[in-house]
């Protein structure tokens, strides 16, 4: 640029180059200093854009002897310092224009003599060749950097299934190659979490985490939230204060953005198997830093990161279901062994005369044996029911059934167990007849009642049956050990239990079966617990169907 200034006798020069289809000021020079930059032409100060535009369009050289009296005078006058002479030379390759060399002289009218213009024209030819070479080199260098980044990121991502750690590592790889700062946000349990950040100045990373905490609001105009909503990448290479203000909510957020010096930014979705799992943000402090080409690279990085998250999650899910199955098998075997233990001991003891076969002993042992057979039958029924529900073969025979009568039957059946555990059971029932399957409804009440007795800690249990707005309602309230609030959403799932299997037996299927039957009737079941040791309340609502005859 200095040579150009000298050759032309100009006191200021700008090199405008086309990149990614748009003109950028890549270098600005005065007689004392040359700077390298990358400012979009539209944003560059003090340049006769009209002149540059004309040269780019036509490929002709423009020489203004006296800028103030030319057709482009409007611009010259708007310029803060009066420009006297302007020279704009196209830089051309055989097939296209690649840029414009723009020179000014603010002191002298008619500064650019014919001779100087000729040598400058020659110089522009050299510039274009040199430029072409450097562009090719730059292209290759960029390509290499991109390949390297993707390779490093991929190997970091496959290294471990702990994606929180690998995502933080990928963010670090992207800085400074792709941006001054990078952040990864992932949706976990419906909440957006900032998993990793990287900044060319690590001292700023705390601020980036703070920035991440502020746009959790799903209505936020923040680009990360937008990208999560639309699943489409977002690029803004010119971020000014006004835009920063529009994209953030509240002064604190805008202040963080300003403190980080956000001037160019892109956000890409972390997209895998049809779902947006999160977003990756690339931010720089230099306007115009991020181009469409960078966005493509960032999107590729995002795709790979998303695949890693997806794989890690699938693996965790399959591990969890294997664990649930193993736990179920161990619980199921314990549940089957318990009645078998008393059953086999009574039979053995009678056979080898450890217990003398007196009428009283026979009566006691047989009644124990009968209870164990009932327990085993119930376990087998439960397992069969679950396999029917899983296979979607729950056959219901609808009949006019009184829910209150079913509840009374069940409570009667549990009377022995209630008295053994010292539990008082209070019934508050009015007759509510609906079209239900009697056996299935009995199972629902049995399972909820068994649950209340098991976790009721011997404290009173209240059962209420009534019709509410034409719907049958059953409420079973105990005052036992309660359910931790984080377990409530899970207790109706298969094999689930809110307590340790080591301490409370049961297959963990009762409430799952109850819910499946209730839903087959078109009803709903809800659990509520104020907290540990404050009991639990189960509320069942059942539509009554078409009832024949008076209730």
């Amino acid at each position: 640029m200095r040579i150009c200034l000298e050759t032309a006798g100009a006191d200021r020069g700008l090199l405008v180059l086309d990149e990614d289809g748009a003109p950028f000021v890549r270098s600005a020079a005065t007689t004392t200093a040359v700077s390298l930059e990358r400012t979009p032409l539209d944003a560059a100060p003090d340049i006769a854009r009209v002149v540059v535009g004309h040269v780019r369009r036509t490929g002709d050289m423009v020489v203004l002897d006296d800028a103030r009296r030319s057709a482009f005078a409007a611009h010259a006058q708007a310029s803060p310092c009066p420009v006297k002479s302007v020279l704009a030379v196209p830089i051309q390759r055989p097939d296209r224009a690649v840029g414009v060399l723009y020179l000014e002289n603010t002191l002298v009218v008619d500064a650019f003599s014919l001779e100087r213009v000729r040598s400058l024209d020659l110089l522009s030819g050299h510039i274009s060749v040199a430029l072409e070479n450097s562009l090719l080199f730059e292209d290759r260098r960029r390509g290499e950097l991109a390949t390297q980044l993707l390779a490093d990121a991929s190997s970091a991502l496959v290294e471990s299934l702990d994606y929180a750690a690998t995502l933080a590592r990928v963010a670090q790889l992207a800085v400074p190659v792709l941006a001054d700062m990078c952040a990864v946000d992932v949706v976990e349990d419906g909440q957006l979490r900032r998993m990793g950040v990287a900044h060319v100045d690590p001292a700023q990373e705390a601020l980036m985490f703070e920035a991440g905490a502020s746009y959790l609001d799903p209505g936020s105009p923040h680009p990360v939230v937008q990208v999560l909503r639309t699943g489409r990448a977002w690029l803004e290479s010119e971020v000014d204060d006004a835009l920063l203000h529009r994209l953030t909510r509240g002064p604190r957020e805008a202040a963080i953005g300003a403190a980080l010096g956000v001037r160019s930014a892109m956000v890409v979705p972390l997209f895998a198997r049809g779902r947006t799992l999160g977003a990756m943000s690339f931010v720089s402090r230099q306007p115009g830093r991020h181009t469409a080409r960078d966005l493509t690279l960032a999107q590729e990085l995002g795709r790979r990161a998303a695949m890693a998250i997806d794989n890690a999650r699938l693996y965790a899910e399959s591990q969890a279901s294997v664990q649930v199955r193993d736990q179920f098998l161990s619980v199921a075997s314990h549940e089957l062994r318990t009645p078998l233990t008393s059953l086999s001991m009574t039979v053995e003891a009678l056979l080898d005369h450890t217990i003398p076969a007196t009428p009283d002993n026979l009566r006691r042992t047989f009644s124990i044996a009968r209870r164990q057979i009932a327990r085993l039958t119930h376990l087998v029924d439960e397992l069969l029911n679950v396999s029917r529900i899983t296979a979607g073969r729950l056959a219901l025979e609808l009949d006019d059934v009184d829910l209150a009568a079913v509840v009374r039957d069940v409570v009667q059946r549990f009377a022995g167990e209630a008295s053994r555990t010292g539990t008082q059971v209070a019934l508050h029932v009015t007759s509510v007849v609906g079209r239900w399957d009697r056996t299935a409804l009995d199972q629902v009440v049995t399972n909820i009642m068994a649950n209340a007795l098991k976790f009721g800690a011997g404290k009173p249990i209240d059962l209420t049956v009534e019709a509410i707005n034409g719907t049958a309602s059953l409420v079973v309230a105990d005052r036992g050990i309660g359910i931790p609030s984080d377990r409530i959403p899970h207790i109706f799932e298969r094999f689930e239990r809110a307590v340790s299997a080591r301490q409370y037996g049961g297959l963990g299927l009762g409430l799952y079966i109850a819910r499946a039957i209730i839903e087959a009737f078109g009803g709903s079941i809800e659990a509520m617990s104020p907290g540990p040791h404050e009991g639990a309340t189960f509320t069942v609502r059942l539509p009554r169907g078409r009832v024949e005859g008076p209730p």
Binding site: T341, M345, D352, T365, I368, R502, G505
Partner: protein, 131 residues
Amino acid sequence: MNHGGTALVLVVEDDLDIREVMRMVLEASGYEVLEAGDGAEALVVARAHRPRLILLDLMMPGMDGFQFRESQLRDPAIAAIPVVIVSGGGALPQKAAELGAAGYLVKPTDLQRLLAMMQDLCRDGARPRVG
């Protein structure tokens, strides 16, 4: 069966039916039986009566068998009472070794093995207290 005296045995088991059968069988075999439905109750009963032997279930509500054994070993008054694990869970030999149990029996329990093991343990060392 003759033990030359009545040994006091504590059955720690949450299942009421198993407890009832154990009581019938052990009483018929000449033992005196104490019962506890969980670990906490077992500690109280053991401290009060110093049984000759403890039959311990592992999976119980409230204080389970593992926690009971920990507390038992911390209390010098009852630490020396031998414990036989009676459980339906897996890996019993390892669990019994970890808990320093005198023996273990898998549920459903073989009656003759139970009685033989009890006889062995009640014969060793001090004579069982005479009721």
